[in-house]
């Protein structure tokens, strides 16, 4: 018995000692003070140096928390048990959050840098007045491929992915909207199509793709493609730029039938406590120099036109990531299809996954 008691005492002593150490570290880092700002963003989606710069300029301590899907983020914000001052959801999540009354209005008078944002990216359908959101990054969905491994295929058209020579050589990202959207686009339909016939047609077409699909994966798709585990993959443009940074042989293209145009945006969720700080932070991120540095670090496309001008020519002139207006016109933003349709998309995607084997 005494041995048991001794061990448990030891455990508690050690645990409280560690707790004290944590509290001490927290304090020395300023995390437990009043003047903090909690930023809820995708993992590694900001240049950490900028957070330090912001802290120095404003004296506000930033707590940076990450999520891995819009849904996980919304669940947390809806739950309400946590303070988040700024969050960065994608556009379809914003319309959903607006419906659920999870967002606070942004005071434009506090955002002196808002004027730097390219007009193309303002007043979009998901938030026409930009009352709740300010663009952070944007991008496309397309195909990243290894030119030496795919023969003559150029992927100018989605149909190239169906080429028999790519047997067991294609990665898809694990997203219902992206994969179903590809199926619909390749047939010439809109990726927001809700007609049952078209959806079934897309599913039938996708199941023909199954012999080529090596795997349907998540974020590890970047590592896998950079390691040349497969010749081609369906990815977001930001991932593509990272993959190409890792492996310079690869190339990225947005097929001509059209694809998705997406936006990640800064918002102030209703859980915010430090409203002043949140506005300061958003304004800070809109500063051209800051936005340029961030874009260079993250590798996604910045909507900030002044920042774009500051970026080196090899980035800003890259048509694959800063496509001209002609291409962007063929791209579509995901509409909020409503929960019922969305879950139908998911069911079809699940069916597609079950087809394989």
């Amino acid at each position: 018995m005494s041995q048991i008691v001794r061990m448990f005492l030891l455990v508690f002593v050690v645990a409280f000692g560690l707790m004290y150490a944590t509290a001490y570290l927290n304090k020395s880092e300023g995390y437990s003070g009043d003047n903090t700002l909690t930023v809820y963003n995708w993992g590694d989606y900001i240049d950490p140096e900028l957070l330090e710069q912001f802290e120095e300029e404003t004296g506000i301590k930033v707590i940076y928390q990450t999520f891995d899907s819009n849904e996980a983020m919304m669940t947390k914000i809806k739950q309400g048990g946590t303070t988040f001052d700024v969050a960065v959801p994608s556009e379809y999540a914003i319309s959903k959050m607006k419906e659920d009354d999870l967002l606070l209005e942004i005071d434009h008078s506090k955002l002196s840098n808002l004027e730097h944002i390219d007009e193309r990216f303002m007043h979009l359908s998901f938030d026409p007045e930009n009352a709740y959101s300010v663009p952070y990054f944007w991008g496309t969905v397309g195909i990243v491929f290894h030119p030496d491994l795919v023969g003559d295929l150029t992927f100018e058209s989605w149909d190239d992915l169906w080429d028999p020579s790519l047997k067991n050589n294609v990665f898809l990202l694990d997203g219902a909207r992206e994969v179903m959207g590809m199926g619909l686009n390749s047939l010439g339909y809109s990726l927001n199509d809700t007609s049952e016939d078209h959806l079934q047609e897309a599913l039938a077409k996708l199941s023909e793709l199954t012999p080529n699909v090596k795997a349907i994966v998540g974020d590890e798709i970047k590592m896998l493609i950079a390691n040349e585990e497969a010749a081609a993959g369906l990815v977001w443009s930001g991932d593509a730029s990272e993959i190409m940074y890792e492996n310079e042989e690869l190339d990225y293209v947005v097929p001509k039938e059209g694809s998705n145009l997406w936006f990640d945006n800064m918002v102030i969720p209703k859980t915010a406590r430090n409203l002043e700080g949140a506005h300061q932070f958003i304004n800070f991120m809109l500063d051209p120099e800051v936005a340029a540095q961030n874009a260079e670090y993250v590798g996604y496309s910045t909507p900030n036109k002044e920042a774009l001008a500051l970026l080196p020519e090899d980035i800003s002139g890259d048509e694959r990531f800063y496509p001209d207006e002609e291409l962007t016109e063929r791209l579509e933003v995901y509409d909020n299809l409503g929960p019922r349709m969305l879950s139908h998309y998911n069911e079809l995607f699940l069916e597609f996954k079950m087809h394989r084997k």
Partner: protein, 268 residues
């Protein structure tokens, strides 16, 4: 037993251990890669170890993880042991089997369900997400495993042992501390270690119920892994791994020395 047989069986054990540790050594190996990724070893560097010690947030998270693991394992062991004793000495069968079934539900439920339902629960209860909610959840999912580890020991113990103690005039408390506890000690330790394992390993439940800047290592790794695992995580895992190996070996030998006269379960 013949010599050849021993060699073969040793070989088998070695193979099992090699496979069990292969991915861990793989992670450790690349933590020294100056190339910065888990392929093409380019050169040796301590860089990522330096990064670990400079990253205060990461250190705080590591400490948090251990605090949660130790506290939840200890508390769940206490509750679980008491629960197991109470269940064991129940006289009627029906409530006993009901309790046992409920006990097992958590072990076999997928983490995601546990996490989601706990999240709803904390919302209803109005508990702020953070240290407390994570600790409560870890205690909650560790209790059943402790019960399962302790019950067999109780079952094994013959009733006459307690009767004898009673006849000799021992009080309830004395029976508990002098007879039952020492006997089920291996079960208690096994339960504690399994609880620790569950807590350190858990990702899904913590992911749901954490918030307000509080994070544990597995959640942090998961969110950092979005950009491909940074090698500082490898370095950190290496450090933690070596630390636990030392701890386990140290614990084992100290324990052995203390216990030499009464070797495990009275068998030499």
């Amino acid at each position: 037993m013949s010599n050849g047989k021993w060699k073969l069986s040793n070989l088998y054990l070695i193979a099992v251990f090699v496979i069990l540790y292969a991915p861990i050594f793989y992670l450790m190996f690349y933590s020294f890669n100056s190339g910065g990724s888990m392929r093409d070893f380019e050169g040796f560097t301590w860089e990522f170890y330096g990064e670990v010690f400079q990253d205060t947030r990461l250190l705080i998270i590591v400490l948090n993880t251990f605090v949660i693991a130790l506290l939840s394992a200890a508390i769940s062991t206490i509750i679980g042991v008491l629960g197991a004793i109470a269940i064991h000495y129940m006289r009627t069968n029906r409530p006993k089997s009901t309790l046992l079934t409920l006990n097992n539900v958590l072990i076999v439920s997928p983490d995601v369900i546990i996490g989601a339902s706990f999240l709803i629960l904390f919302t209803i209860a109005g508990i702020q997400l953070g240290f407390v909610s994570v600790l409560l959840s870890h205690i909650a999912f560790s209790i059943p495993i402790v019960v399962i580890m302790v019950l067999p020991k109780l079952q094994e113990m013959s009733g006459s042992l307690i009767d004898a103690a009673r006849d000799l005039g021992a009080s309830s408390w004395q029976v508990l501390t002098k007879v039952i506890m020492p006997y089920i000690k291996p079960g208690i330790f096994a339960g504690f270690f399994m609880a620790l394992t569950y807590s350190l390993d858990d990702f899904a439940v913590t992911f749901f119920v954490t918030g307000n800047g509080f994070s544990t290592l597995s959640v942090e790794i998961y969110s950092r892994a979005r950009q491909g695992v940074s090698l500082s995580i490898n370095a950190l895992s290496t450090l933690i791994f070596l630390f636990t190996v030392l701890l386990v070996i140290g614990y084992y030998f100290i324990n052995r020395r203390n216990n030499r006269p009464v070797a495990k379960e009275g068998r030499a």
